[in-house]
Point group: C2
């Protein structure tokens, strides 16, 4: 499997055993998440903004209104940090000090690039839609030229990315394991509920099958 | 309900109609999330790190190993931005351009303060544990003096916080509503699965009831 060497920034320092630089793992975490958190500096202050994203190969794409403050700042090409976190479980230990969470996260550092090529931009918009629901782009009404103009798309390469993963049971001391307190892991998953059709949904529209949302 | 006036930074600019400064709403979003994303600037570069948190009144607490890089940076008292995001639904429109997500998010700006008072520190550790599972602190083995020393706790006031909420159906144009494409909302929830007991769980320990995790 392709791997990359950690840079000074992506090297996982705290709990280094949880760090991973494997591209397939990084891609799978990015593909499973719905929201990323974009960090940037504006006027010397840090900002962390949640937003949707899509991945094509070894780049992720961010988008937003051409009038968005965040997109405006990012178009200038400053350093950004984009983080995706999946909570997999609550790790309940017998000792409060040993409580933890099982998770998979990816942190990407880099400079975003404004996508100006119309073909790349359309491909990125396809990735946003199909990231949420595979195959959905092929069913929906694709963007007009006006809608394309109203949307800014930014690309961020994944060459400075790392994953961090914690899994498994709580790690209580032997002495604490003697305590009559339940300990273990409660799995947590983002589950889809029953789809709620729009009131104006067309009578010929096929119902939506949530099995389409299944992550690999 | 108590509200606060938005500061220049917390004022929601893009989709201002989604902005909210109501304290009860801000608290309820913070209480429902499991993970926050902490943004800070180190060496001029933005970092976004996922971590657990707890709330007591109008402050949130962050914690970590006294040896953590992030905690070390934050103890210096720089500006931070802490964001919590809950994904509530996938908003599938007939037009790709109108796809969206239903979510509730909180963004907090401020300077973190290292908690040195032992009583406040213990109260914060209680908040971390009971944030995940109400009442759990009262059951587990509480921290020793050594464990307290190994943990750094930081407080961040909520006086510069804002919420942003999107809910409801997709907003397709009238013309697009004529298309025979399913449109609507797929609700998304963080659901708990069957608890997995630790292999060494004591025979007298009561099983864990996931109903305890229910958010208000």
């Amino acid at each position: 499997m392709p791997t990359s060497s950690p840079s000074d920034r992506t090297k996982v320092r705290r709990h280094a055993e949880r760090g991973a630089y494997d591209q397939d793992l990084i891609h799978s975490i990015l593909d499973e998440g719905y929201v990323c958190h974009v960090g940037f500096v504006d006027g010397g202050h840090p900002y962390v903004i949640p937003t949707a994203y899509g991945r094509v190969g070894d780049q992720i794409y961010l988008h937003g209104s051409a009038a968005s403050h965040m997109l405006g700042v990012l178009e200038e090409g400053p350093e950004v940090c984009v983080t995706v976190t999946l909570v997999d479980g609550l790790v309940l230990a017998r000792a409060a000090f040993r409580n933890s969470m099982n998770y998979r996260s990816v942190v990407v550092f880099g400079k975003a690039r404004l996508v100006t090529d119309p073909r790349e931009k359309m491909e990125a918009l396809r990735a946003f839609t199909n990231h949420i629901t595979p195959g959905r782009w092929e069913e929906v009404r694709t963007p007009t030229e006006g809608e394309m103009k109203a949307t800014s798309v930014l690309a961020l390469p994944l060459n400075e990315a790392s994953a961090k993963v914690r899994s498994g049971p709580p790690l209580d001391t032997d002495a604490d394991c003697e305590l009559p307190i339940w300990a273990g892991v409660v799995p947590i998953r983002a589950e889809a509920g029953e789809p709620v059709p729009d009131v104006r949904v067309h009578q010929d529209a096929l119902p939506f099958d949530t099995a389409r949302l299944a992550r690999q």
